[in-house]
């Protein structure tokens, strides 16, 4: 009982901070309860609790629930109402005064390998093409100190003072500040990007359906992957090579596509980025980054690996056998062979 009152007191003291957020639609009436959950048809437990303060420090903190969850109109809610990221929402884009939408991403995706209408696909099976939410969650604004390795709060008071002069709404200023500073850095680090791509590109079922090889395993075997694994500064992840520098991260194309960053003739330009291999010549495009040990695809690599495996086993095991024979002989010096 005592514990309950302490909790209530804490909640009461915190309430001014928790309840500042917009909730015109009153969704939090139910969704504020931590235990709001169920087990769905597939046996997965699903949690419908929304942490209000966490949500409001995310990039979508100023978007109303119903603008993404547009399929929901009544209580109890309809079944299978997935969010549609291409919805227009009530945020206005200040340069054009139009309602904001992620529609342009769709254009980039339609020009990339990640949709079933792309002409250079090995197998256009529409089951397994990524939707927005397969790669994106609802990320929090990462304060700048994560990138700069500083301890004080990410928002520089000096910079905020410049905004304060004209803009009066501090909540808006902070939000806008985060909006810009968030985009100055990649929101995912190398390992997070590899882990994101890994969910499909290291999934054997999907790979066999798309007639692809495990690109993550082969990446990790290269120095690029190893450098990322050990947090070497400036190590490249999937997007660094597979997207042209001036394009959206969504524009990943086939190596057969002349517009692609890894098109065989232009590949060297991607390698020759500043900070990577700036003195690279076109010949560097001949180095293969996703080598699988396969006789038909990579004959030189296959026979080298085969030769060295044979050499290693052929040298090591006979030596190990000799060693064991000698040990046995030395431990039991008096055994006589039966005649």
């Amino acid at each position: 009982m005592h514990f309950f009152f302490v909790n209530m007191l804490i909640l009461f003291l915190l309430s001014p901070f928790i309840s500042y957020a917009l909730d015109d639609e009153n969704c939090l009436l139910c969704h504020k309860y931590r235990t709001l959950s169920r087990i769905d048809e597939k046996g997965k437990s699903r949690i419908y609790y929304i942490n209000d303060s966490l949500f409001h420090s995310s990039v979508h903190g100023r978007v109303k629930c119903s603008e993404c969850h547009s399929g929901i109109t009544k209580i109890p809610h309809e079944e299978n109402t997935k969010v549609n990221c291409l919805n227009e929402c009530h945020i206005t884009e200040p340069t054009e005064d139009k309602r904001f939408s992620h529609k342009n991403v769709e254009d980039a995706i339609m020009n990339s390998v990640h949709n079933n209408k792309y002409p250079l696909l090995r197998n256009a099976n529409s089951d397994f093409f990524p939707k927005c939410t397969d790669c994106h969650n609802n990320p929090l604004f990462k304060p700048i100190q994560i990138f700069k390795d500083i301890t004080d709060e990410g928002q520089s008071p000096k910079a905020l003072a410049r905004c304060n002069l004209c803009h009066k709404d501090t909540k808006f200023i902070k939000y806008f500040y985060n909006h810009v500073s968030h985009r100055l850095h990649a929101s995912k680090n190398n390992k997070e990007i590899v882990r994101m791509c890994e969910r499909c590109h290291a999934n054997n079922e999907m790979l066999s359906k798309h007639k692809l090889k495990n690109a993550i395993a082969t990446y990790k075997d290269t120095f690029h992957g190893k450098a990322a694994e050990f947090d070497y500064k400036g190590s490249p992840d999937c997007i660094d090579c597979h997207v042209k520098e001036n394009e959206s991260a969504h524009s990943i194309r086939s190596y057969k596509d002349p517009n692609s960053s890894i098109y065989s003739k232009d590949r060297w330009k991607t390698c020759a980025k500043t900070g990577c291999h700036p003195d690279a010549k076109p010949a560097i495009g001949g180095v293969r980054m996703h080598v699988v040990i396969n006789k038909d695809l990579y004959p030189y690599e296959y026979y080298t690996a085969l030769g060295f495996t044979a050499l290693t086993l052929g040298a090591y095991f006979p030596l190990a056998i000799l060693l064991i024979l000698e040990l046995i002989r030395e431990i039991f010096p008096n055994i006589k062979r039966r005649k």
Binding site: F223, F230, K233, H277, I284, G286, R288, Y300, F308, T312
Partner: protein, 292 residues
């Protein structure tokens, strides 16, 4: 073998010279660079194990290990070239110059000199190996009698002799990847990576298991052979492992006793000398006292 005694008597135990100063230093450089290269290279090869991250952190992270690895690699390749120089120097010093001054030089003689140089594989090694197999399989009780270096040591030596060029050359290609693409097709860089890491695994497994066993963990020598530190082997190991050499050196010492230095005797003499000196000063002091 310049100025070290061939046989040393210490603690009434005989020690036989196996490695000269230079050879010991060569081994030391090879050993340290080898260990550094393993410590900085293997975490990369086995990045998927947990220990890889620990070792990498211990060695200072990837920014530091790249430098250590390259410096150690360069040193090892430098040692390889030095060893070639060393081999030719020996050829000049022990065959070409004496034979030319005696005007007995012949190509066949030179080949014979090379064939009988201590590390060169010869027919006797094959015979020794067969003898060893017979011994190991309980067919005979006789162990093969070895000369200066036996087939196991020669195997180690030639493994390194072929390993360093392979690892050095592929390492050089991987180090200067953009430069090497200008001279080689792309797949050369790919197979260099495979060759470098596989050859390193082979070298490390052979050295850490086979060489460590033969040199240190072996029945006779456990826990450690003093050879790589002192350059000398005690008589029991000599007799056991290098019987023919032991015989040969003993005969040589009989003929030229100056090749043997008795450390015990020397120590005894030194102590006598020290007491002599001490007595001398003590006497002088007492003389002075008397005078006053």
């Amino acid at each position: 073998m310049n100025c070290l005694p061939l046989v040393k008597i210490k603690g009434s135990q005989k020690y036989y010279l196996k490695l000269s100063h230079g050879q010991r230093y060569q081994h030391f450089i090879l050993m340290t660079t080898f260990i550094l290269l393993i410590l900085t290279g293997f975490p990369l090869k086995f990045y998927y194990y947990d220990w890889a991250k620990t070792v990498m952190k211990f060695m200072g992270g990837p920014e530091v290990t790249t430098i250590i690895h390259r410096a150690a690699g360069l040193t090892m390749v430098g040692l390889f070239f030095f060893h070639w120089y060393y081999l030719f120097r020996n050829l000049f010093k022990y065959y070409l110059i004496p034979s030319l001054s005696k005007k007995s030089f012949s190509f066949k003689g030179m080949m014979k000199f090379i064939y009988y140089s201590p590390m060169f594989p010869r027919v006797k090694d094959i015979k020794d190996f067969i003898e060893f197999l017979k011994y190991a399989l309980f067919i005979t009780d006789e162990k093969p009698k070895h000369e200066r270096f036996h087939w196991r040591e020669k195997f180690d030596y030639w493994a390194v002799f072929w390993g360093i060029p392979v690892l050095g050359f592929t390492g050089w290609i991987l180090w200067f990847e953009t430069l090497s693409t200008q001279y080689f097709p792309g797949w050369v860089i790919n197979i260099s990576l495979i060759a470098h890491s596989d050859e390193a695994l082979l070298a490390a497994s052979v050295i850490l298991v086979w060489h460590m066993y033969n040199a240190h963990v072996n029945y006779d020598k456990f826990p450690m052979s003093p050879l790589f530190l002192t350059g000398y082997l005690p008589e029991d190991i000599m007799k056991h492992e290098y019987y023919l050499e032991w015989e040969r050196i003993n005969e040589l010492v009989k003929k030229f006793p100056e090749l043997q230095v008795n450390d015990d005797e020397y120590k005894q003499r030194m102590m006598e000398y020290e007491t002599m000196v001490a007595n001398y000063f003590a006497e002088q002091e007492s003389d002075e006292g008397e005078k006053i």
